[in-house]
């Protein structure tokens, strides 16, 4: 028995794709197309455009915070898997929101794409609901003690998007310039946006 051949996930993946392809259940081209969608088309640049619009248009921001999915759809496609009902929460000088899924790695795919590796780490999933300030500090974000912290555990189908604080010194930035500053990590609540 070749133990490594049967346990290597790369070989098992190749084996599974061959078996399903031979049965006519998938085709490599369809797999390619699905992968390309999540490598190129669906990602945090969508959420960044939503955030930049909210920073520059108070009426849009109000709509976004009240009912996020229609507001997201004003900017980009915003429905579908892992994003049927999205709630946006705003980080301020007084309130900080951070998102996790302790049971798996549920994440708002339509606006942020696939989750980054740290979001899927057992350490993040376990610890951010027990010691969020310590976890954020390890990740490079120090919160002042007076800031109220709320951790959102995406345990059902509701998905959360954080509206980060607009950085200082960006008063004359266009919406497009602002969108370029917004990071995936800031929209999950583990980083600040800097100019």
């Amino acid at each position: 028995m070749n133990e490594s051949a049967s346990t290597d996930p790369a070989l098992r993946t190749e084996a599974l794709e061959q078996l399903l392809t031979e049965r006519g259940l998938v085709s490599p081209e369809v797999v390619d197309g699905f992968v390309a969608k999540y490598e190129r088309d669906v990602g945090p640049m969508i959420g960044a455009r939503v955030v930049a619009r909210a920073w520059t248009d108070p009426a849009y921001k109000a709509r976004l915070l009240a009912d996020a999915v229609p507001a997201i759809q004003e900017v980009a496609w915003g429905g579908g898997a892992n994003g049927e009902h999205i709630v946006v929460v705003e980080n301020t000088a007084a309130e900080h929101h951070v998102v996790v899924c302790t049971l798996c790695s549920c994440y708002p795919w339509p606006v942020l794409g696939l989750p980054p590796s740290w979001y899927k780490e057992p350490a993040y999933r376990a610890r951010v609901v027990r010691e969020p300030r310590a976890v954020l500090r390890e990740m490079g974000m120090e919160l002042p003690p007076e800031v109220r912290v709320t951790v959102h555990d995406s345990s059902a189908e509701v998905r959360w998007l954080v509206l980060p604080r607009r950085p200082e010194g960006t008063a004359d930035h266009t919406e497009e310039q602002l969108a370029a500053l917004v990071t995936r990590d800031a929209m999950v609540g583990v980083a600040t946006v800097t100019a």
């Binding site: 098992r12 078996l19 399903l20 369809v30 951790v151 059902a156 189908e157």
Partner: protein, 219 residues
């Protein structure tokens, strides 16, 4: 069929974990080529090919042995869960993937014959998981509740006193949907918990979670 509380996936609040790495903003969606293929194959397998659903996929992930869940990372557990669902629906014979992997590694292996597919007798009543229900919500914002049971109830919240923050749209109930016993949509509530209620000491903060109506009792 009653499904019991979460298994291997229920990590919230558990101890003994290492530090969380500093994020790399330029990290690509897939760390390796096989991860992207496993992602797509699992996505197709969970619905169209196996005739199962997303809740069944999550339950399958939750029931993986620890090594299958943790050792190959996120897309590794997707791969292992997809393979199990395909075997359960008799799309693949048990051992078929192992046999093919060993052949790919150059061994001479007899592969099992493809079985007669046996998909679950189940069809979704609509796309996605949002549904409408006719009954009014049993709980209102501001109400005190205690989650007591439920497939998607994180263990660290069970029995803890929480406050209803919002009533969300009704969703398909994973507890029955995952085992093909009907969608039984229910109201979903965002419930908040104080860190003091959850842990008694340590950092001061709030946790929110979305919980189905049948998970909750008035408190």
């Amino acid at each position: 069929m009653e499904v019991t509380i979460p298994g291997v996936s229920d990590l919230g609040g558990t101890r003994g974990h290492h530090r969380v790495p500093v994020p790399d903003p330029a990290e690509p969606p897939f760390a390796a080529w096989w991860e992207s293929r496993a992602f797509a194959l699992a996505a197709f397998a969970m619905g169209r090919i196996s005739g199962r659903n997303l809740d069944a996929f999550r339950l399958t992930l939750d029931r993986l042995p620890r090594d299958r869940y943790f050792d190959d990372g996120y897309f590794g557990r997707w791969l292992h869960a997809a393979e199990r669902m395909l075997v359960e629906s008799a799309i693949l014979a048990p051992g078929a993937v192992t046999a093919r992997a060993r052949r790919l590694a150059g061994e001479t292996v007899v592969e099992p014959a493809a079985p007669e597919p046996a998909k679950p007798d189940y069809a979704a009543t609509g796309p996605g998981s949002l549904r409408t229900v006719d009954t009014p919500p049993a709980f209102a914002p501001g109400g005190c509740v205690r989650p007591v049971r439920g497939l998607r109830l994180p263990g660290y919240l069970r029995g803890r006193l929480g406050v209803v923050e919002a009533v969300r749209p009704a969703h398909v109930l994973p507890d029955t949907h995952a085992v093909f016993a009907g969608e039984h949509p229910q109201h979903v509530y965002t419930v908040s918990f104080t860190s003091r209620e959850l842990y008694g000491s340590g950092e001061c903060f709030t946790v929110t979670a979305e919980l189905f109506e049948s998970y909750l009792e008035s408190a």
